[in-house]
């Protein structure tokens, strides 16, 4: 087994919203090996972005707070790092691509300056050299270097996302976190951007944490998958584990909800109901209310996290006693 570049152990994150506490992440445990691509899949409000921001140390505080757990990057706990040490890691060791390329770039600065900024921060180069490197990075992501002096509004959405990728990869990070990098883009542009991310990942030997709600994108890009629901990982495994043998009722429900291009289904099998209010999470399994197979056991107590085949973990009582 090769080395884990990232390990999250039992992470808890909360936001305070007036009198209520939003329990966004509730004991997430994840690991990502060097060179791997892990897809973190879930719906709105499942805690995907919060997890990513926790790794970056960018949870807005207040109102957010990490209340427990460890985030180990190359074996070192990032939660114990000072802000100054974290600044050296952000953009250099760990980079992040955000969802909406329209708003992720500063409209007042040229794109060249915005790429050069991260290079200047982490590499010992002059301003002119950094700008030169920025132009080279633009070429790498498929935009003419000559456009470095233009402003974000002069680029289309797909081009902006390429620039965001250039910023993220400019310092050759070991870990790239991509938060819904293609959700805001049209399919043909999405294909271009995914191709670019994959190419660069291979070129720079970067590990990837891909956050998305799109099981199709994960199938194309990732080799490991984690399904997240109400701030918990409900199923984790290799691509084959999840796609050939989806085991958690929620995962099964997700697949049943998507119309398939390659086969004709007259009727979808949606998951009934809604995700529970994160300020009032139920006791026991958070999915029990919507689950067709829920029984009394599911309503109270901790839900076991069970390895049903090597490397395939499921958080569901129905597998209790069926450990591999």
């Amino acid at each position: 087994m090769s080395e884990n570049i990232l390990e999250i152990k039992d992470l808890y994150v909360q936001y305070s919203a007036g009198k209520d506490t939003v329990r966004a992440v509730n004991g997430i445990t994840l690991s990502l090996e060097k060179g791997e691509s892990l897809g973190l899949v879930g719906e709105t409000g499942a805690g995907k972005t919060t997890t990513a921001l926790s790794i970056m140390g960018l949870i807005p505080n207040p109102p957010g707070k990490i209340t427990g757990g460890e985030i180990l990057y190359r074996g070192e706990n990032l939660r114990e790092k000072s802000e100054k040490e974290m600044r050296k890691i952000r953009g250099h060791e760990i980079s992040m691509i955000f969802q909406d390329p329209m708003t992720a770039l500063n409209p007042m600065l040229t794109v060249g300056d915005q790429i050069a900024e991260v290079i200047r921060l982490h590499q010992n180069v002059t301003k002119a050299e950094a700008f030169q490197r920025a132009k080279e990075m633009m070429e790498v992501v498929g935009i003419e270097g000559g456009r470095a002096n233009e402003y974000p509004h002069q680029f289309s959405g797909g081009m902006k996302q390429r620039i965001v990728i250039a910023i993220a990869l400019a310092c050759n990070p070991s870990l790239l976190i991509a938060d819904e990098p293609t959700t805001a883009l049209d399919v043909t542009i999405q294909a271009q951007v995914l191709e670019l991310i994959e190419q660069l990942k291979r070129k720079y030997d970067t590990s990837l944490l891909l956050i998305t709600h799109d099981l199709g994108v994960v199938a194309e890009v990732c080799n490991k998958v984690a399904i997240i629901y109400a701030g918990e990982i409900v199923e984790y495994g290799t691509l084959a584990h999840i796609y050939k043998n989806p085991s958690h009722p929620y995962t099964i429900g997700l697949f049943g909800s998507i119309p398939n291009l390659n086969e004709t289904v007259t009727r979808l099998k949606p998951i009934p109901g809604l995700m529970p209010d994160p300020t009032k999470l139920p006791e026991g399994c958070a999915f029990a209310e919507r689950c067709g197979e829920a029984c009394e056991k599911c309503m109270k107590g901790a839900v076991p996290y069970i390895e049903i085949e090597p490397g395939h973990m499921v958080r569901c009582t129905k597998f209790a006693g069926k450990e591999n």
Partner: protein, 322 residues
């Protein structure tokens, strides 16, 4: 850009015509005979008739108005009844004082207001933030004439540090400039705070943090640059207001600025002086507004690209088609 400025100046013409029409008719229809004010109570009917004849006051309203506008276009605002001096000359001797006073007040307001606003936004809900917000709220609620009088009581009467009136040394400028700046300072601070709060939550600020940039650079380089437009608007309109609204403060501190000139003109029914003064101030205000728009384009590349003629760039707002 030049084309745009030219267009804006052309668009000012009808507005200024409207302004002259309003001021002209107000002075024309206001009660009392001009001749009575100028010639005194002892003047005979013949004297008054002669005065009206000489000044063209017996012509019909429209004729008087048209001839006034025709002269005003050439920069001739007529002769002040009180001093027999050209109105333009009187304005030119009073305006620089008002301009200087307003400029000092505005600079002070911007420097202090913006600083407090930024700090207040960055440390939202801290003691400092709450205190600054309270002060700003009081600042916009202070009647300036009263503030001026209270400052005179404190610094001139009680402490004896600063002179209460006139403008003969730098010390004289402190009280009136400070009084004038209060409202703008508070307004600037409030606008800076709210637009910074908005900017800090933007995605690109998060991007900058994700690069590993230090907090101070994130705030100043990324957030503040984007928050600056509404602040410019507030500061600009406040500055324009100072030029027109300095009348009260100039009265309190006995300063011969353009505001006091116009108020004195109204009290003596000196129509040419009042009309000329108001038109002058209105033009100055419009030019300031134009300047604000130019600064906008200078600061924001998206607005700049809209003005750049010839070379077509993508407009910032996408047309909604899909």
């Amino acid at each position: 850009m030049l084309k745009y400025i030219f267009k804006r100046i052309i668009m000012m013409i009808p507005v200024m015509l409207g302004v002259t029409f309003i001021t002209f008719s107000m002075m024309y229809f206001s009660p009392g005979e001009t001749a009575d004010y100028i010639l005194g109570e002892l003047a005979t009917e013949e004297d008054k008739a002669l005065f009206n004849e000489q000044n063209g006051l017996n012509r019909p309203f429209i004729v008087q108005y048209v001839s006034y506008v025709a002269d005003a276009v050439t920069g001739d605002f007529g002769i002040s009844y009180a001093t027999r001096q050209p109105v333009m000359k009187e304005i030119m001797s009073a305006f620089p004082t008002t301009m200087k006073l307003s400029l000092w007040a505005e600079v002070f307001a911007i420097v202090i207001g913006v600083t407090l606003g930024v700090v207040s936004a960055v440390k939202q809900y801290s003691f400092l933030d709450n205190a600054t917000r309270m002060f700003a709220m009081i600042g916009v609620s202070l009647p300036s004439f009263w503030e001026g009088l209270m400052l005179i009581i404190l610094f001139s009467v009680v402490l004896g540090w600063l002179p209460p009136s006139g403008l003969s040394s730098w010390k004289h400028w402190i009280l009136p400039a400070f009084t004038l700046s209060t409202w703008g300072l508070a307004a600037c601070m409030r606008m800076t705070r709210s637009s910074m709060l908005e900017a800090i939550r933007e995605d690109y600020v998060r991007t900058a943090r994700a690069k590993g940039q230090s907090e101070i650079v994130v705030i100043m380089k990324h957030a503040f640059r984007n928050a600056v437009l509404p602040i410019i608007t507030v500061a600009g309109t406040d500055f324009a207001k100072l030029l027109g609204g300095a009348a009260v403060i100039e009265t309190v501190f006995s300063i011969n600025g353009i505001g006091k000139l116009i108020v004195d003109g109204i009290n003596t029914k000196n129509a040419p002086l009042v009309q000329g003064g108001i038109l002058f101030v209105a033009i100055a205000m419009s030019l300031i507004n134009l300047m604000i728009d130019i600064i906008y384009a200078f600061v924001d590349p998206r607005i700049r690209s809209q003005y750049v003629s010839g070379k077509k760039t993508k407009a910032p707002k996408k047309e909604k088609v899909s």
